[in-house]
């Protein structure tokens, strides 16, 4: 018995100290006005931070921006991912190489991705606008205009994470049973019919898993946006993580930042529950 415990003990202890304890501590801190200013005194203020969060225009704005960003990114990644998975499912010469090349965006450091796209997006010298000018297409100030910046960062996220959606749906496609498709073919169904009435419904759980995972990741996004816009022209791309980061390291308002984190977590859990219910339902 003691041996059994010793197997799991290191892990549990490590996580307890470095993950659980900080969380508990942060609940306590969120009920105070703890600040990183050396001269400040900490007083217990109860739920004041939480009440403040609900009327904080910057926090609400970050919720809205995160929501828009997530909705936009998820939609594009879903359709592009589905299409990509279907394309890479076909048998063609060089398929293995194509699949390997597709996952490269997943491996590259987020910060480096942000930097490259920053170069490409540059209004005067960037490649994107250069090509647009050459082709007489409209030129946009991608990262410096409030109208276009959100789309710009969505595109970067799409570039980086669509391969994951592709991989997930691809493995789903490859684990589908053959028989339904064979019988459908023999019954004379067209390819489009097979896709719409057979493939899609059978892929539903897989697609929901992909969406759930991407949802949890886009809500928490930090790296690329920090490098690309640091919150954007006039705070127009300040997503939740960036605002919490600003609360801690600019305003030094740690108590409030902790409260914000918990509110965010509650939102994530609530939204994930909805996703999970749909996944479980489609398994029946």
């Amino acid at each position: 018995m003691r041996l059994k415990i010793s197997f799991i003990l290191p892990t549990i202890l490590w996580l307890a100290i470095l993950s659980v304890f900080p969380l508990v501590y942060s609940i306590y801190v969120s009920l105070t006005d703890l600040s990183l200013l050396p001269i400040a005194r900490t007083t217990f203020i109860g739920l004041q931070n939480y009440l403040r969060a609900f009327t904080d225009e910057y926090f609400l704005s970050s919720l809205r921006i995160s929501g828009l960003f997530t909705a936009g990114a998820l939609t594009i990644e879903f359709f592009l991912g589905l299409g990509g998975a279907l394309l890479l499912y076909r048998r063609f010469c060089g398929r293995a190489v194509a699949r390997t090349l597709t996952i490269l965006p997943l491996i590259v450091t987020s910060v480096v991705i942000g930097l490259v796209w920053k170069i490409l997006y540059n209004t005067q010298y960037g490649l994107i606008n250069y090509i647009s000018r050459e082709l007489s297409l409209p030129v946009f100030p991608w990262l410096t205009s409030v109208q276009t910046v959100l789309i710009s960062i969505i595109i970067v996220d799409v570039w980086q994470w669509t391969p994951l959606v592709i991989l997930i749906i691809l493995s789903g496609l490859e684990s589908l049973p053959r028989e339904p498709f064979e019988s459908a073919h023999m019954d004379g169904a067209s390819n489009i019919q097979i896709f719409y009435y057979l493939t899609l419904p059978m892929l539903r759980p897989v697609m929901l898993v992909a969406l759930l995972i991407r949802f949890m990741d886009t809500i928490r996004i930090f790296d690329t946006i920090y490098v690309l816009t640091k919150g954007g022209p006039g705070g127009s791309t300040e997503v939740i993580s960036l605002y919490i980061y600003r609360s801690v390291f600019r305003h030094l308002d740690v108590g409030y930042a902790c409260a914000l984190s918990w509110v965010t977590l509650a939102i994530i859990i609530f939204a994930s529950q909805i996703f999970l219910r749909s996944i479980l339902k489609s398994f029946r």
Binding site: V29, P105, L115
Partner: protein, 277 residues
């Protein structure tokens, strides 16, 4: 379908596939080529497609940018954290698979749920804690954090692999006199070797690319490569682009290689075992 139509369709799919791959590759291609351009050419209108490559930027990154310092930090911290997390995670995963104890599934779910948190949530209290313990800006500090990140991931990855070992093999080992730990090290671990290496490599990739914690918890002594890459953001426009791309290329090179080697397990790793790769 007539022959012409199906061939046309087939070609359209091929073209679309090429466009897709091109879309994913192009920024990386641009990164690589810009790294070899002279600074003036990197930032010119029109952007140069043909140019004479130069290694100047790489030299600059090494000598002036102190690349090796950041690389050494990334290497030490990530490799050790990855190994520790994988090994401790293996112990834990093995226990989940072979032993029964109270509330096992609750414990497993709790370990998984840690991943759902926004990193900022744990970063803030940990920052306060680490400041008091003088762990800010140390290798040890970041290692502690990275291991605690890698543990849930390793447990869930390896759990699937251990479940693939038939219990009978281990039972015969124990009958022959190996204790629990002996069986673990001599029989079970070698049998999940591919899973172990995949977990180590995947851990390595995620830790290598990690930015937020590195940003918060390091300053002068132990900054990692992503910090070096991000430091170029503040450079005056255009002057440092070529250098920046050289730094970026070097920063991602090691894990690109590792990633390609471990791609088989990517889906499993990135979806926490929800899908088999």
């Amino acid at each position: 379908m007539t022959i012409k139509k199906s061939r046309l369709l087939s070609w359209s799919w091929n073209i679309l596939t090429i466009l897709l791959i091109g879309f994913f590759l192009f920024p990386l291609y641009w990164l690589l080529t810009t790294a070899f351009k002279k600074p003036a050419e990197a930032f010119s209108i029109p952007p140069k497609i043909l140019f004479l490559p130069t290694l100047d930027n790489f030299f600059k990154v090494f000598y002036e940018g102190n690349f090796l310092f950041f690389f050494r930090n990334s290497f030490t911290i990530c490799v050790s954290s990855s190994l520790i997390a994988t090994f401790l995670g293996a112990l834990c995963a093995y226990a989940f698979v072979r032993f029964t104890f109270k509330r096992k599934e609750d414990l497993a779910f709790w370990i998984l749920s840690i991943r759902m948190l926004p990193p900022v949530a744990t970063a803030v209290p940990l920052f306060i804690l680490f400041t008091r313990l003088n762990l800010i800006d140390t290798h040890l500090g970041l290692m502690l954090l990275y291991v605690s990140w890698g543990l849930p991931f390793s447990v869930w990855m390896l759990r699937g692999f251990f479940e693939g070992i038939p219990a009978s093999i281990e039972e015969s080992a124990m009958i022959d006199g190996c204790g629990y730990f002996g069986t673990f090290t001599r029989i079970s671990l070698p049998l999940v070797a591919p899973g172990l290496s995949a977990t180590i490599l995947l851990n390595l990739i995620f830790m290598w690319n990690e930015f937020l914690f590195a940003l918060i918890f390091t300053q002068h002594n132990s900054p990692t490569l992503p910090i070096l890459a991000a430091s170029y953001v503040r450079g005056v426009m255009g002057v440092e682009w070529a250098e920046m791309c050289a730094a970026g290329t070097l920063a991602i090179l090691p894990i690109l290689v590792i990633g390609i080697l471990s791609q088989k397990y990517f889906v499993r790793g990135l979806t926490m075992g929800a899908m088999k790769g």
